[in-house]
């Protein structure tokens, strides 16, 4: 039996390849969209993996530092360090803000951490870790900062000493790690005008600025200008201790909410990016359906374009099976070409996206199977049309 498909493809090689290429780009877009969704989930996981905390202690009845504002005293760690099984604690403060670099404003999530304790960047791609207690920063490479750059946060200049990667907030803002005390100050510090106005307002308050009681006003002003709050306390446990049990103990006796890292992942993935993820997944479904429909139409119209040839084949007595095999093989061939071109294209352009795009191998395998199934189904439609062709059309028409 001769292979009609090979000959037909060889005959229309250019148009066949171009069709495959077009299909491929469409599949590439679909794969990329899946990658965008996977990337969002992965960003959250990478952040948690880098922080590497077993338990997150946050303000009572809040969803942690990322999903909800949370504020706990910065000396809470002393009480937590005394609990059995706690090996290490780390105070962290997170705030999203604009920092300016060379006159340009850049949106970042500032993460304050204590060097050597949980909460810092896990790896660097350039520079060095933070060594001084103040005014040094490690930036995510996505910020575009270089080692040695000076960025301004509120009223202080910070030197970028190191670069890391893949550290972004759930909103996609790249992170900037700075020492905790600086972050606390940045979180709390108002601009100078506001501070002076606040002082005047306090001084005008007769309850605080009573004649004959010097010093009260200064004391109140000093209290207002300092912050002893952090957003969360991270705990690392000694080997063999159960994070769930400790979190329950903290929630019950310390009156704070405590999450294990699994809870935190649940919050980050299921709650924080839920709407965005739904949005993307719906779009992904539509894109997949549209792609499948386009593939089916292309194969169908490709077959219909060959009506005359098929009629001739029928006229010279070609078996239906042979014709069906030709159509099926051509369709599957298009699918294979399309998939590889799509995977190629998606891999090529994925790094150019501003947010991380994760192309999972499993997704690719699923996409491959799906493509072949869609192609096979579409070819069935075309085969049905082809078999209905009257051989007489070869002579007439």
């Amino acid at each position: 039996m001769i292979n009609l498909a090979r000959r037909d493809i060889a005959h229309h090689l250019k148009s066949y390849l171009l069709t495959g290429l077009g299909l491929g780009l469409l599949i590439g877009v679909t794969l990329t969209m899946a990658g965008v969704y996977r990337g969002m989930v992965d960003d959250a996981k990478v952040l948690l993996h880098a922080v590497d905390a077993d338990v997150w202690v946050v303000q009572q009845n809040t969803l942690g530092p990322f999903a909800e504002p949370s504020s706990v005293p910065d000396d809470l760690y002393r009480a937590l360090l005394g609990l059995e099984g706690v090996a290490q604690t780390g105070n962290v403060a997170y705030l999203t803000m604009q920092v300016s670099h060379q006159g340009k404003s850049q949106r970042v999530m500032v993460a304050g951490f204590e060097p050597g304790k949980p909460g810092g960047p896990a790896f660097l791609v350039a520079g060095r870790p933070i060594a001084r207690a103040h005014y040094e920063a490690v930036a995510d490479a996505k910020t575009g900062f270089q080692v040695g750059d000076v960025v301004r946060i509120r009223r202080n200049d910070y030197t970028v000493v190191g670069l890391t990667r893949r550290m972004v907030s759930s909103g996609g803002d790249p992170m900037l790690f700075i020492p905790l005390k600086d972050a606390q100050e940045a979180q709390f510090l108002k601009d100078n005008d506001a501070i002076i106005e606040g002082r005047k307002r306090l001084a005008a308050n007769p309850a605080l600025n009573r004649p004959g009681q010097p010093g009260v006003l200064e004391a109140v002003q000093a209290i207002q200008a300092s912050s002893h709050k952090v957003n969360a306390v991270l705990l690392r446990l000694q080997p063999g201790f159960d994070a769930r049990a400790l979190a329950d103990t903290i929630a019950r006796w310390q009156r704070y909410t405590a999450y294990t890292s699994d809870d935190m992942e649940e919050i980050l993935v299921a709650k924080l990016i839920a709407t965005a993820a739904k949005q993307i997944s719906l779009f992904l479904i539509i894109l997949a359906v549209v792609s499948a429909a386009i593939v089916a139409f292309i194969i169908y119209t490709m077959t219909l374009g060959k009506i005359k040839e098929i009629a001739v084949l029928k006229l010279i007595g070609t078996q239906n099976r042979t014709i069906a095999a030709m159509i099926m093989q051509e369709a599957l061939g298009l699918g294979v070409i399309g998939f590889f071109v799509g995977k190629f294209a998606a891999t090529l352009w994925a790094p150019a996206f501003p947010k991380y795009v994760l192309l999972e191998t499993g997704d690719a395998a699923r996409a491959f199977v799906l493509t072949l199934v869609v192609c096979a189904l579409a070819s069935l439609l075309a085969i049905r049309a082809a078999l209905k062709i009257d051989p007489a059309e070869a002579i007439g028409g």
């Binding site: 060095r128 060594a131 207690a133 004649p211 080997p239 190629f344 191998t361």
Partner: protein, 389 residues
């Protein structure tokens, strides 16, 4: 013939595409090994430093104010003026103090006169007593010779002893009047002292940093009217994280960078480490003096202090970025047969750039400094440049 040439081109094209596909997957896709940069363990000298921020402050600050409530009458100096020890700085309104002094002065004079009167009374009583005594003796002699009745003689004797008692009373009165003089004079002196204390004088040779009350203002006891510092004794009161403050000692050299002159560092010296640390902020307070002091300093200015600690010579070091922590254990990542392996080490002294390796690594061995992803044990890695230089 034509067909075979075409299929050759097709085959080559397909092969090229496949090769490009595989290359792309292997270098950029999820299957690609993690790119890393390595460095070798080298011997070097380390000179660590400790960093803290603080404010320029006076070692001693003086606030000059009245010892009791009053109204400010005059302030003679203004902020920034140099003053000498003992110089009059401000005066508090004495209100009725002058009148009270006059009253006290009259009271003293009156006491002196009262004393004179008491002295005169003593003289009179003395004279009376002597006369009464002579009369009594005379009547006693006459009674013994039976010239007068016994009743007469007894009466004279009584007069004599009454006069003696009157003399004692007058003497006591006179001595009381003398003490009254002392009291009135002391009161006068006290008022004078009070008047002196209303003049606020400088306790030191220094400079005025604040003028906190103006003439007419009412101040309470202890409230500052003027604040002074000794400009020769300004230092930086720096706060250093307790976790990093180990090894800091008085006498160590330090660099001070003032916020107003961010580019230049001034030489300084650790003078004193406060015994009492700040328990809330968990910082040790280290006082660093300028050495030598610059011509003009502004108290309250923010300053960064870098204290040089004694270093170590010729030790094994790796870059700071190479030091990692895996489940609470310090170590470094190494490349073994194309895979990352964690090697626990004992780190020692750290500087900003380098860390001493006490044990766990040999000189010349290579460690991973930078990686494109977080490393896990057994992950495939490949050396490559991660950032364009």
């Amino acid at each position: 013939m034509k067909l075979s040439q075409r299929s050759l081109i097709l085959a080559i094209g397909a092969l090229a595409f496949l090769a490009a596909f595989v290359w792309l997957l292997a270098t950029r896709g999820p299957l690609a090994p993690v790119g890393v940069e390595t460095a070798t363990v080298t011997r070097a000298d380390l000179s660590p430093s400790v960093y803290g921020i603080g404010t320029v402050e006076a070692q001693h600050a003086y606030s000059v104010g009245p010892i009791q409530a009053g109204r400010v009458l005059r302030v003679w100096v203004d902020q920034g003026e140099l003053v000498k020890a003992g110089q009059l700085l401000a005066e508090i309104d004495p209100v009725d103090l002058r009148q009270r002094a006059e009253a006290a002065s009259s009271a003293a004079a009156r006491a002196r006169q009262a004393a004179q009167a008491a002295q005169a009374q003593v003289t009179e009583a003395d004279s009376r007593a002597r006369l009464a005594q002579a009369n009594s003796e005379r009547y006693q002699a006459l009674y013994r010779q039976n010239f007068v009745a016994r009743e007469m003689a007894d009466s004279r004797r009584h007069e004599a002893s009454a006069a003696t008692a009157a003399l004692a009373a007058a003497r006591a009165n006179a001595s009381g009047a003398l003490r009254e003089i002392g009291r009135a004079e002391a009161e006068l002196r006290g008022i004078d002292q009070l008047r002196q204390s209303l003049k606020l004088v400088s306790p030191i040779d220094g400079v005025v940093t604040a003028r906190e009350a103006e003439p007419g203002a009412t101040v309470v006891a202890g409230q500052a009217v003027l604040r002074l510092v000794d400009p020769a004794r300004l230092w930086v009161r720096a706060r250093v994280d307790q976790a990093r403050a180990q090894g800091v000692q008085a006498g160590q050299a330090a660099d001070i960078v003032l916020r107003s002159v961010p580019g230049a560092s001034l030489p300084g010296k650790v003078v004193r480490i406060d015994l009492q640390s700040d328990a809330v902020t968990e910082e040790r307070i280290i006082n660093v003096a300028f050495d030598p002091a610059p011509a003009q300093l502004y108290p309250g200015e923010l300053a960064e202090v870098t204290i040089q600690l004694p270093g170590v010579r010729d030790v094994l070091t790796v870059p700071r970025a190479a030091l990692a922590q895996v489940s609470g254990e310090a170590g470094v990542w190494r490349v073994e047969a194309g895979r990352a392996r964690f090697q626990p080490v004992q780190p020692g002294m750290q500087t900003a750039e380098q860390v001493q390796i006490v044990s766990g690594l040999a000189e010349g061995s290579s460690v991973i400094v930078y990686s494109a992803k977080q490393l896990d044990d057994g992950v495939r890695v490949r050396e490559q440049r991660l950032t364009p230089r």
